[in-house]
């Protein structure tokens, strides 16, 4: 078990994000992630990245929230990445313990141990992880583990021109975020809210200030650990197994009955 030396994280304030995507480029540049070799326009606002995956560890979402008469016009931006959850679903389902908690209290995939089984992909409630095309193993944001070891901040936070991505001690960031929440609510952002407090998976080390409810940003309002969702899955599997058996038994029986009937008719007719 790794000794947690400090709890590092990021506070992403969407009210300061103007969607420049410098974080995406800084992430790819530092982590040497390949560009899409045949990119095309997605047609979804200014988002041509699409989603988080093995090559895109950071993704700026563009949400056009505009009424037909344009009276209410908002264009929301959210720089998304791995949240480095306290209760990390990916970590709990990994069969080889390739996903570990680092000395910075962040969630890190050890590529030497990863066997590419994809369990973590289903284990993550945020859809953060994918198999990398080049590595063949699970990939996601490392919170720039290598930079943290050298005493630097993650590349995205360094590149962010508006300090919308703040890196630091989670405790300090939470204090900052609470202050910010109060300010925003008094400054006309009535729905401003923190996403990623203790109530979300025990707290997200990478958490957000949203201008509106999480669903507006495509974030689950109540994400669950895979075990919890798996209980339902387990029972449904048991039920399915039972049902399959029952149906086959029934169909076998009906086959037998039909066969018996046919034989009877043949006998009678003869």
């Amino acid at each position: 078990m790794t000794q947690i030396e400090s709890k590092k994280g990021m506070f992403i304030d969407t009210t300061l994000c103007h969607g420049c995507k410098a974080c995406e480029v800084a992430c790819k540049s530092w982590n040497e992630l390949p560009a899409n070799s045949a990119p095309s326009l997605t047609g979804n606002s200014y988002d041509n990245t699409g989603k988080l995956d093995g090559e895109n560890w950071r993704h700026v979402k563009f949400i056009e929230d505009i009424s037909d008469d344009r009276k209410d016009s908002r264009w929301l931006f959210l720089s998304d990445s791995c949240k480095h959850c306290q209760l990390a679903g990916c970590m709990s389902v990994c069969p080889t313990n390739a996903i570990i908690r680092t000395e910075f209290d962040t969630v890190y995939i050890d590529h030497d141990t990863c066997i590419g089984c994809k369990y973590c992909i289903t284990g993550c409630p945020f859809g953060v992880i994918e198999i990398g095309h080049l590595s063949g193993t699970a990939e996601k944001c490392t919170l720039c583990y290598d930079r943290l070891q050298a005493g630097q901040q993650p590349a995205c936070a360094q590149a962010c021109p508006t300090d919308s991505i703040e890196f630091g001690e989670v405790e300090d960031l939470v204090t900052m975020a609470k202050k910010r929440e109060q300010y925003l609510q008094s400054a006309g952002y009535g729905k401003a809210q923190i996403y990623g407090d203790k109530n979300i998976l025990g707290g997200l080390n990478v958490f957000y200030m949203l201008e509106d409810k999480p669903e507006k940003y495509g974030l689950p309002s109540d994400p669950q650990m895979p075990q919890k969702t798996m209980v339902g899955g387990y029972w449904s599997s048991v039920f399915s197994l039972f049902a399959v058996g029952l149906v086959s038994l029934l169909s076998f029986r009906s086959y037998r009955e039909r066969k018996f009937k046919e034989e009877e008719e043949t006998t009678t007719g003869a």
Partner: protein, 826 residues
């Protein structure tokens, strides 16, 4: 207004957000809902190209509702000045000013002048050349009426000029609702007074029109009336679009200027001798009276010992302009075979120029072309990759141009400095040697100069005198960390700063420069950046919470806020405690405050103007705008503009409306420069049914300009991978188009294809009783690189403003159809 601050200046926008979080209200008035609108407190839509109508209505609102800053306006602007009786306004002449010559499409501005008192004979002998020439041109002081009631006072003329620019007119012309307009008007006026200031940020949305200069002037006039100039948090801020575009302009990349905004001498003007030229350029009652000192110092910097009083300091060696050599004229001359060769460095006209296909035609007429850029850009590949070559309408073998491509460095491979939007010089260090044969523009220019000097060294021809006597020693100060050595930054900065010719010591600032040849200075406004041999103030890095005077060096003289004398009342006291900035310290008898005073340091507020005085002596202790004649803001411009003394609304050369409803007889700017004689350069005129939609072009954060530095980088290319046309759902449904569908966009200049991006951020506006649709397209694409596409600039026409020849790319018209171009891009 006129800027997409967040997208095109994403780093500087952090300060806007900080202001917003400190309680500032951010209004974004723009034809499109952009990332800037998203971050602003309010977004107000308007039709592209109608900014003057909008701002003119703000001016009218301010005057009609008595919201102007009276004490400021009476003392710090020319509002009380009386204009000659001969002057006639657009209100009198149905849309034109007096002095218009329809054949020449030009104004004679004689009737726009002030009424003046009799000139006063100066006393004593002139101390130097600058003073002597100033006296020759000295006129009497303008007549004034400080009650602002004289019918020919600038104030009353303005009042009349803008009287029909009403909120209703804004609704008709701009498509902005009356309520939205009034919200802007009320917000701006409530926030402009002794306690508060308002700023206007603009960029290409104001400049790139056939009336671009007038649009900016309208903003300046409004800010003058509101008392927002020279005060902290005020001003009109030009957002410069590249790291060093300000520096490039300061050091004279423009065809008609010398470093420090001095002019190029012109053939045909009375510029035969140095004295003739200086007499023409002399502005006797402003700081510009020092003009001769700066020009003579440039000549000393360039020609050294060979520049003597006997040979007019080698004035004759300066090239003279032969006419208009602006960008579009230059390409016209290339097309006509007058210009035979061209060096294109840091530009990509084959796709970046307006009516880009014309630019490619012109490039194809050259004998030789040198392209120096980090990537093999379209200007270097036009002869085999351009759409007209690909589709066979032009054959590569018919293009005779010999193209030389020289690989260039990027910013981290050179040292030097950037001058940013705030006129702030900041040094930067070289991080790495460039790869292979890549060389910096500086290295290339220096080496080219050395080789040319070698070629000319035996020539006795008069025309080669300049080459043979040009000072050209910038040999590197060797830096052992690198293999490629750049020319000496120190030698260059020292020449720019200026030095005493006899001792070689740097001058402390432009105040030390002389017109007798005893000083040399490459760019007077930068003087003071290197006050000592070992102190480059552009390298200063001491931040603080406010004006950070020890961070970098801002020209002129490290002043951060220009004309900051206006931040104090005429008597020298601050307008308010809250907006205290520069004030007169009566005890110490000097100006003091948070910035370097932009005023004579010990000139008391009650200092009277000297009758018959020249230069700053002609201005009193309460005249803050010391570069202007008479020391005040020129709300009305009696001289200096080709298209009128007051900004006036005209329609763009392509407009969706049938007429200019303010001046039905004058739909278009009478002085707009239309290059009608060029091939495929037809303008659409008013309400052309073939081209029903307004199109506006722009940049997005993900790419830079023609894409020369971004479309070749896979990480940037994938962020905006394909050319797109932004259209409203309303228009999309009329056209039967969905997002990602291909559409064809056509104008009288060209036809291109793009993917549709359907978004409610675009909105139709009701103008002239009908719905006008605007579509928008980023300009970044071309046929070479990683992300390629049609050339958006093939759509626009070459039309220009008559003052500075800026083109019009923000408001023209087009047609849009579903589907791709038949047979690919043509």
């Amino acid at each position: 207004m006129g800027s997409n601050f967040a997208e095109n200046h994403p780093v500087a926008f952090r300060f806007v957000l900080r202001a917003r979080d400190n309680g500032a209200r951010i209004l974004h008035v723009d034809p499109r809902f952009t990332r800037t609108s998203a971050m602003s407190s309010d977004y107000v839509p308007m039709r592209s190209g109608t900014d003057i109508a909008f701002i003119g209505a703000l001016i009218n609102y301010v005057i009609q509702n008595d919201k102007f800053f009276k004490e400021y306006v009476v003392n710090y602007t020319n509002a009380p000045f009386i204009v000659k009786e001969e002057y006639q306004d657009t209100e009198d002449l149905e849309g034109i000013f007096s002095g218009f010559d329809p054949d020449k499409k030009a104004y004679d501005n004689a009737s726009w002048a002030y009424e003046r008192e009799d000139p006063v004979e100066p006393e004593g002998e002139p101390a130097n050349l600058s003073e002597r020439l100033a006296r020759e041109k000295l006129a009497g002081r303008p007549k004034r009426d400080e009650t602002l009631q004289h019918p020919r006072s600038v104030f009353q003329l303005m009042k009349k000029h803008y009287s029909r620019y009403t909120p209703e007119m804004v609704e008709e012309i701009c498509g902005t609702s009356k309520e939205e307009f009034l919200m802007v008007a009320e917000t701006v006026t409530a926030n402009s007074n002794p306690e508060r200031t308002t700023t206007f940020c603009y960029a290409m949305g104001w400049t790139q029109h056939t009336y671009g200069v007038q649009t900016i002037r309208s903003g300046a006039i409004l800010q003058g009336l509101l008392g927002n100039m020279g005060r902290p948090g005020g001003g009109i801020l030009a957002l410069r679009g590249h790291a060093n575009v300000q520096g490039a302009t300061d050091l004279s990349t423009l065809w008609n200027s010398l470093p420090g905004y001095l002019d190029m001498p012109a053939k045909g003007a009375a510029h035969d001798t140095l004295e003739d030229f200086l007499r023409d350029k002399m502005r006797p009652t402003s700081f510009w009276q020092n003009y001769p000192k700066y020009l003579v110092s440039i000549l000393k910097a360039w020609y050294g010992d060979a520049a003597t009083p006997a040979n007019d300091f080698a004035y004759e060696a300066l090239p003279k302009t032969l006419g208009n050599h602006s960008h579009y004229k230059m390409f016209e001359e290339a097309y006509n075979g007058i210009i035979k060769g061209m060096m294109v460095i840091g530009q990509n006209p084959a796709v970046g120029g307006q009516n880009a296909s014309f630019h490619r035609k012109a490039l194809g007429k050259l004998d030789w072309l040198v392209v120096k850029d980090p990537f093999l850009i379209e200007t270097a590949t036009f002869w085999y990759e351009a759409p007209e070559v690909k589709n066979g309408s032009v054959k590569a073998e018919d293009i005779g141009t010999e193209v030389f491509y020289l690989p260039s460095t990027v910013f981290a491979e050179t040292e030097g400095s950037f001058t940013n939007t705030s006129r702030l010089l900041q040094t930067k260090e070289k991080a790495a040697d460039p790869p292979g044969d890549c060389r910096s523009d500086l290295w290339f220019t220096y080496e080219l100069g050395k080789r040319l000097k070698e070629l000319y060294k035996d020539s006795n021809a008069k025309r080669d005198w300049g080459f043979n006597h040009l000072t050209w020693d910038y040999e590197p100060d060797v830096n052992p960390r690198f293999k490629i050595q750049e020319p000496s930054e120190h030698k260059i900065v020292k020449e720019i700063n200026g030095y005493d010719v006899a001792t070689g010591a740097p001058v402390a600032g432009f105040g030390d420069l002389q017109d007798d040849g005893s000083t040399a200075c490459g760019c007077w406004i930068y003087s003071g950046v290197l006050p000592e041999e070992s102190l480059n103030r552009a390298a200063n890095r001491e931040g603080d919470d406010y004006q950070y005077l020890n961070w970098g060096f801002a020209w002129p003289a490290n002043r951060r806020n220009l004309y900051n004398r206006a931040s104090a009342r005429p008597d020298g006291k601050p307008w308010s405690e809250r907006k205290k900035y520069i004030w007169w310290d009566a005890g110490k008898e000097e100006w003091t405050g948070y910035d370097v005073p932009d005023f004579a340091a010990t000139k008391a507020p009650d200092t009277p103007a000297v009758p018959g005085g020249v230069g700053l002596a002609a201005q009193s202790g309460k005249d803050p705008f010391l570069m202007n004649p008479d020391g005040v803001i020129q709300l009305f411009a009696p001289a200096g503009l080709a298209d009128g003394p007051l900004p006036t609304h005209y329609e763009p050369p392509d407009t969706p409306v049938s007429k200019n409803i303010l001046y039905p007889e004058q739909t278009f700017s009478p002085t707009a420069v239309i290059f009608e004689h060029l091939p495929n350069n037809k303008v659409h005129g008013a309400n052309n049914s073939k081209y029903p939609f307004v199109i506006t072009t722009y940049r997005v954060t993900e790419h830079h300009l023609s894409g020369a530095m971004t479309r070749w980088l896979p990480w940037l290319a994938e962020l905006m991978p394909e050319l797109f046309l932004e259209i409203s759902p309303e228009l999309a449904s009329e056209l039967g188009v969905h997002s990602k569908d291909f559409v064809t966009v056509e104008t009288g200049r060209g036809k291109i294809e793009a993917r549709a991006l359907v978004t409610k951020r675009m909105r139709p506006l009701k103008v002239e009783g009908k719905m006008v649709h605007t579509v928008g397209m980023p300009i970044h694409w071309g046929y070479s690189g990683v992300a390629t596409g049609s050339v958006p600039n093939d759509l626009s026409a070459i039309v220009a403003d008559p003052n500075v020849y800026i083109h019009s790319s923000k408001a023209f018209t087009c047609n849009v159809k579903k589907g791709r171009l038949p047979g690919g891009v043509v």
